[in-house]
Symmetry: C2
Subunit: 398 residues, 2 copies
């Protein structure tokens, strides 16, 4: 079964939407924040903890899993859900962003992306076909992102145009491969690829299903190119549409501008995903502009460096001012961390390099994001989103 | 309320005992393994996870907590239980072993131990009086260990005798201080020490209680000195007796020999604690010799380096042979880790430096120790301990 998107409510002011994405592994309420599990684990958190926080979908990374542990081991273990003990939906990105971040370690042609592993320097070629096959047949992802070319910021018009053209070319081949894999055709490009039917079903999970493929709109900060990219993708009829190539160093005003003119052009009956974004203020602005799905590493990364989101703004818990603070991270929060631990204790743990400190911060930060999306959704349904956004940001940005 | 020890069953062959330690924070079934929470956290585990494994008491370290975060912060947070969100019993060691491990950074006189912090090189003096006061009035420990002098191995008879004499001198002063603190006398040695009554009670915990003080038998590997040490301590009537100064590099045969001739001399109606021991084979041997309580860092330390205890012996999960192994760490284990994850996944996590790998290994290793004690206890109660030990070691040591 492919995913289905159901629009529940559209804001009367602005483009904000509340919806549902129905998948064979459960329902996802939108707007949604997807915690990032790069290496088949959301750093420091257990699956049960993510469920108890209310995470309905996580993201994992094709590039990292392709290199380590690789297709053979994941296949042997019955696919990504079974491997990592997560039976809710998983979206996997294509590795496009990671490969383009490698800089001089990669070379891109129409065939695909040649690159050197960041782990051991070994050479690899990833084609759009292989990327889809890996996600569909090895990982068993619920939502698949095709290989795209992510242009840097700043970037000339011509460079951005070439990236759009290649992204469209690859999108077409990805779509064909996805249909092809869906028919369980054995002639796949990856050597020794297991047949769908030979995978051990994950215990407690439904049998592997045909997954859904999204399109990724590129075009950098050029409105005309964003439009071209989108038109190419619409012709291919994807299950959802993502905005890629953003949050790569451009100023916030440009990010908002690009989302502002692109999001309303995306089909209303499909989910809309802004890749790699972001801090709370960006999430709320993008929701207002019509975005439904987000992912970002900052809740987990901040947790490790000792920063936590609170209703009053970001708190750097390492700072000496919290050494004698027996209050919770956020007095307005009811997460596990805030119910049981003080700032003084968490600062002590982080100062001592203790893993529990990272765990407690991670749970709090992911809860913060998931809860922000929950509150935003309620506000949209009750048609008071702008009021909610203003109230939240007034406190958060102080 | 002081702890009470109840002997449930003594083995008809050998000295093995099954018992109960009754404390105001819950009952501890013996033999018991105490997970070590050096810096107010059992490395990588949450209190709820320890409870679900069945840990009934944990150990924490006076030396580390005295230096960081220090008495002021722990007092502010309502004592150690409240600070770390653990409402079952805590035993705190005296710091004697840590201070004597500092080598040239410390100087010991009858007054106490002068030492330099391993964290920042600052100078400190810990006296037997301060150590008891800190554990009783700041930490609120349930079981307190007095400051002792731990002689190294190898060690001359004269050096070992001096350490025994000083340990006896300090034991007497510790006992006096403990009585004194119990009477809530304000004239304590630590500056700005909070009064018992001014501590914020830990939520859900009983009010701070007078804790119980153990005696530590020293004497190195000299039977005569062990006997002298014990006689000195018996005259002071402690709530329990520990064997200290072992597991400091001596061969296993000597460890067993010392425990063998010392344990039977300890009062039968008090709990007996072998400090800092050890691997499963040492625990079972010591139980056979009449020991009730153990602590050791190896379950948590092994977890971080990627080694796990199994019924078939120690498994180094980092090894390449486990890369494609979709079976659990131990097929005979029903812990959280073994119910949900494969060796291949855990090896992947450890190889990637992922915290969840350490967490899963930690839960498994602590479960292994707690479960070993549970099985040993059942075997003692059913008077088949030697048979159980033989069966376990036959498999474990291969």
């Amino acid at each position: 079964m492919s995913i289905r998107f159901k629009l529940i409510k559209k804001s009367s002011q602005g483009e904000a939407r509340a919806g549902q994405i129905i998948t064979s592994r459960g329902m996802i309420k939108t707007p949604v924040f997807m915690p990032v599990g790069t290496q088949a684990t959301v750093k420091s958190a257990s699956p049960e903890e993510l469920v108890s926080i209310g995470a309905e979908i996580i993201l994992s990374n094709t590039y990292h899993l392709f290199l380590r542990p690789g297709q053979e081991i994941i296949s042997l273990c019955g696919g990504l859900h079974s491997f990592m003990h997560w039976d809710r939906p998983i979206l996997t990105d294509s590795g496009g962003y990671q490969i383009f971040s490698l800089g001089r370690l990669r070379k891109v042609t129409d065939e695909g992306a040649k690159f050197q592993s960041h782990i051991n320097g070994s050479y690899h070629l990833l084609t759009p076909e292989q990327v889809v096959e890996f996600q569909q047949l090895v990982l068993g992802s619920d939502i698949i992102m095709p290989l795209d070319e992510c242009a840097p910021y700043p970037c000339t018009y011509d460079h951005a145009r070439e990236a759009v053209e290649r992204t469209s070319l690859w999108a077409k081949r990805s779509k064909e491969t996805h249909l092809h894999c869906g028919m369980r055709n054995a002639e796949c490009g990856i050597k020794d690829l297991p047949q769908l039917g030979t995978r051990r079903p994950a215990s407690g999970c439904p049998e592997p299903e045909t997954s859904s493929l999204f399109g990724i709109v590129q075009g950098n900060v050029y409105q005309e190119l964003r439009q071209c990219s989108l038109e190419d993708l619409l012709a291919l009829d994807f299950s959802g549409y993502a905005l890629g190539g953003l949050s790569v160093g451009e100023p916030k005003s440009l990010l908002y501008e690009v989302v502002g003119y692109t999001a309303p052009l995306l089909p209303a009956e499909k989910p809309r995903y802004l890749m790699g974004v972001g801090p709370p203020e960006d999430l709320l602005t993008a929701i207002e502009l019509g975005i439904d799905m987000f992912d970002c590493v900052i809740p987990t990364r901040h947790a490790r460096t000792g920063s936590v989101f609170t209703s009053q703004g970001l708190v750097v818990i390492r700072n000496a001012e919290y050494a004698r603070d027996s209050s919770p991270l956020d007095p307005n929060c009811d997460c596990y961390t805030c119910r049981h631990y003080s700032r003084a204790y968490i600062r002590h743990l982080i100062n001592c390099g203790e893993i529990l400190g990272i765990r407690l911060n991670t749970l709090h930060n992911i809860h913060f994001m998931v809860n922000l999306m929950r509150q935003a959704r309620e506000a949209i349904i009750e048609d008071r989103f702008l009021e909610f956004k203003k109230g939240f940001l007034g406190q958060y940005l102080g």
